[in-house]
């Protein structure tokens, strides 16, 4: 189990490193094609920085508001509160703020930039359909996201994806509107230069897509990691396994979930049934590993 967690962390580091390489490649491509457009880079950098600082401090509020979560009353939802308190003792985390989402589809998510500013939200459907041990498994998974600083990681990746997209977009527009005239004057580097230029443009067009796919791969890694470290909290894999099996049987989707918040939930909140429209795209761009794989991984612990 511990080896699995370590392997997962290593892969996360690799993916982030690949991200940084991608950003560097994009910047290099722009530099090559424009001959050094420093001002554009600075503007893009500042926008990215402001955006990421804002995201870092407000990620929890935005996520909670977007899914229409309201605070869970400690008396009405005593079991929910009690289980979280127990798990916090087991993991040494401070107790996060607890929220309820009024939705019959069973699901849950965690948010917050660090354990001191964290929140967990569950749907009313989850509380109804899960028994105590299953709920404990799900909540341990969510607390693991908090303990592993997954929100911070995803904020960083969202920012990197944003930077890549912004830079590519900025440059392609620049090429199209203003760059062409300058090119004609200085384009004397022969066929090699032309090939490199085309390669650069191809890279810029593909970069945002690649960045997005890497972000998703990272998200899937973090989910597996949270499964594994959630189980080290409860020391009881059958709880989470049977919860995931229940989620598998249940095909409803969360109404307030969107592509923007999909990576937060414990289960893919969007439509992935093969027969439904849009399912294929959702699966390809899934933020979560398939439930069968997660159950298999847990059973092998």
């Amino acid at each position: 189990m511990y080896e699995q967690i370590a392997a997962n962390k290593r892969r996360t580091v690799l993916i982030i490193a690949a991200f940084v390489l991608l950003v560097v490649a994009v910047v290099e491509a722009i530099n090559y094609l424009t001959g050094g457009g420093i001002i554009g880079l600075v503007i893009a950098g500042v926008i990215a920085l402001v955006g990421s600082v804002g995201a870092y401090y407000n990620s929890d509020k935005v996520a909670l508001a977007m899914s229409r979560a309201h605070p869970a009353d400690p008396r009405e939802y005593a079991r929910y509160h009690n289980i979280v308190e127990g798990l916090c003792i087991a993991s040494g985390l401070p107790k996060p703020r607890l929220y309820i989402v009024d939705d019959p589809a069973p699901n849950a998510f965690a948010t917050g930039r660090n354990p001191q500013h964290a929140a967990v939200a569950v749907t009313t459907g989850l509380l109804e359909k899960m028994n105590r041990v299953e709920l404990e498994g799900v909540l341990a998974h969510e607390l693991s996201h908090i303990r592993n600083y997954d929100i911070l990681v995803s904020t960083i990746t969202v920012t990197l994806v944003g930077v890549v997209a912004l830079l590519s977009d900025f440059f392609l527009r620049f090429m199209f509107w203003g760059g062409r005239r300058d090119r004609n004057d200085s384009n004397d580097s022969g066929p090699l230069g032309a090939i490199l230029a085309i390669l650069g443009i191809v890279l810029l067009v593909l970069a945002p897509l690649v960045a997005r796919l890497m972000q998703l791969a990272l998200s899937r890694r973090r989910e597996s990691l949270a499964d594994a470290s959630g189980v080290t909290m409860t020391r009881y894999p059958p709880g989470l396994i049977s919860a995931l099996k229940k989620l598998q049987e249940d095909s409803s989707v969360v109404h307030t979930a969107s592509k923007a918040t999909a990576h937060l939930w414990i289960e893919e909140p969007l439509e992935t049934e093969p027969s439904k429209p849009g399912a294929r795209i959702n699966r390809l761009f899934s933020t979560h590993p398939p439930l069968e794989e997660r159950i298999k991984a847990l059973e092998s612990m």
Partner: protein
């Protein structure tokens, strides 16, 4: 000149390593103490809940006197138990007595529907979970602390400043095999 700079840099580095390692040891030792007192806090909470539970059940199942007496006795013994081992044993007896009480309660539909009883049942279940989790956290903290005391370079500091290995909290074999109760 360069030699002096290098020597100063090495000394500063060594001091930094020393400070970080020493603070790490202190932090882990304090965490163990905190984890241990957390167990006591949760046990205390459990002891406080028992009289309420007995009173509530009495109202519905007055003639199950034996069961009540056993619970009350086990609770009082748990409260007055001294030393970790005796305490753990007394707690196990209390757990058994409570389980019996809840088994008895199954025969009284009115009691099972009572809001107060349901709340107490939830509180007791979660408190038992918390005791287990607090012990787990204690043991996890001991693992980390002992690892640090045994590994290089912190083992040198541990030897110099009297950081001793701690013992794990261990449960008797029969307590370990008790299945989790679901309500």
């Amino acid at each position: 000149m360069i030699a002096v700079i290098i020597i100063v840099a090495i000394v500063v580095l060594l001091i930094l390593i020393f400070v970080v390692q020493y603070n790490g040891l202190v932090r882990l030792r304090n965490r163990i103490d905190n984890a241990w007192s957390q167990i006591d806090v949760q046990l205390q909470r459990r002891h406080d809940l028992v009289p309420n539970l007995v009173e509530t059940v009495k109202g519905y199942a007055a003639h199950e006197k034996d069961t009540f007496e056993r619970v009350v006795q086990a609770r009082n013994q748990a409260v007055s138990a001294q030393g970790a081992e005796a305490q753990a044993q007394a707690e196990n007896v209390l757990t058994g007595a409570l389980r019996q009480l809840f088994a008895v309660a199954e025969a009284y539909p009115d009691l099972k529907a009572n809001q107060n009883f349901l709340e107490l049942q939830e509180q007791l279940t979660s408190t038992e979970d918390r005791v287990a989790y607090a012990r787990q956290f204690y043991n996890d903290s001991v693992v980390k602390y002992n690892n640090k005391i045994q590994s290089i370079p912190s083992n040198i500091l541990a030897g110099m400043f009297n950081f001793h290995e701690r013992e794990y909290f261990e449960v008797e074999e029969d307590a370990r095999t008790v299945p989790r109760v679901q309500f």
